[in-house]
């Protein structure tokens, strides 16, 4: 199944989703398509004013351009997702997930879609936290595979 992850750039989430047999929907793929496009209009990421306008699909014109530009990149990932894993305390996420308002809205978009969702927290420096993090994710992804109802489904 296609699993949206937040942060959508996370190494750990991306790896775990793939490791447990699903497809992570990640920002890196979006960026790859953007930056390897032959017509590079707006370096470095090739996010153009047209992309920002496309963000109007998700938020009104009086929403700051940085929010709409980010939503235009990440929104389609949520639209295509069958499930989602969200890390709540991703405080060191910069760039495409560097805006708190956008991140709040992304979480809302996931909720609105009503897809199975797991919310976890990055482990602090102890084994217990790490186990809980990994085991929660493994169970969530296993249940998805087995077709069990999860989260908000």
């Amino acid at each position: 199944m296609k699993v949206f992850i937040f942060p959508p750039t996370s190494l750990i989430l991306s790896d775990l989703v793939e490791r447990f047999g699903h497809e992570p929907l990640v920002m890196m793929r979006v960026i790859r398509d953007k930056v390897t496009d032959l017509s590079l209009d707006s370096p470095p990421l090739n996010v153009t004013p047209e992309d920002v306008k496309a963000g109007l699909k998700y938020a009104a014109v009086d929403t700051p351009p940085g929010v709409r530009g980010r939503l235009a990149l990440i929104g389609p990932l949520i639209e295509n997702a069958d499930a989602a894993i969200i890390v709540r305390n991703a405080d060191y996420s910069f760039g495409c997930v560097g805006c708190a308002r956008t991140n709040e809205y992304l979480r809302y978009m996931v909720k609105r879609r009503g897809i199975p969702t797991l919310e976890v927290e990055y482990p602090k420096e102890n084994e217990e936290d790490a186990k809980n993090f990994v085991y929660s994710i493994e169970k969530f992804l296993r249940d998805l595979k087995e077709g069990k109802k999860n989260g908000r489904d």
Partner: protein, 138 residues
């Protein structure tokens, strides 16, 4: 088929580079401080990542990378010293990898573990707090 780039990060030392070279994958490989960057056609990349997962198990973590290897747009030297935005999160996640690796090992060994839901109320019960305060003045 299009070209993709992946980041392979090791949680502790693993001789990735020498093994990949030995197996002569048709890939561009670059060693970095956290592991290796590999780039090539999707099919060959899948063979390489499957191999690394089998060979190094829970000790390697793999994710895609948006920018091609050595792209000046993300290069520190060209940016005047500052890291690309994704670096800080990667650095933070890399610190967690040994713990994640251990947890994955436990999972493989089917060590029984009871998951604690994240939604549980972490606030202290008011009566418990009252008893604690009362205990201080006994």
């Amino acid at each position: 088929m299009s070209k993709v780039t992946k980041m392979v990060v090791v949680s502790s030392y693993a001789p990735i580079l020498s093994k990949i070279y030995k197996l002569q994958f048709d890939l561009t490989i670059k060693e970095t401080c956290f592991g290796v960057l590999i780039s090539g056609e999707e099919e060959e990349m899948r063979r390489a990542t499957d191999y690394m997962r089998n060979e190094f198990g829970n000790g390697v973590f793999i994710k895609e990378r948006g920018f091609p290897m050595g792209d000046v747009r993300r290069c520190r030297a060209d940016r005047g010293g500052g890291a690309r935005p994704g670096f800080y999160q990667l650095e933070r996640e890399i610190k967690m990898l040994p713990l994640i690796e251990d947890s994955l090992n436990n999972l493989d060994e089917e060590v029984d573990y009871k998951i604690h839901p994240y939604d549980q109320d972490k606030k202290m019960n008011a009566i418990k707090l009252q008893k604690m305060i009362e205990g201080m003045y006994k």
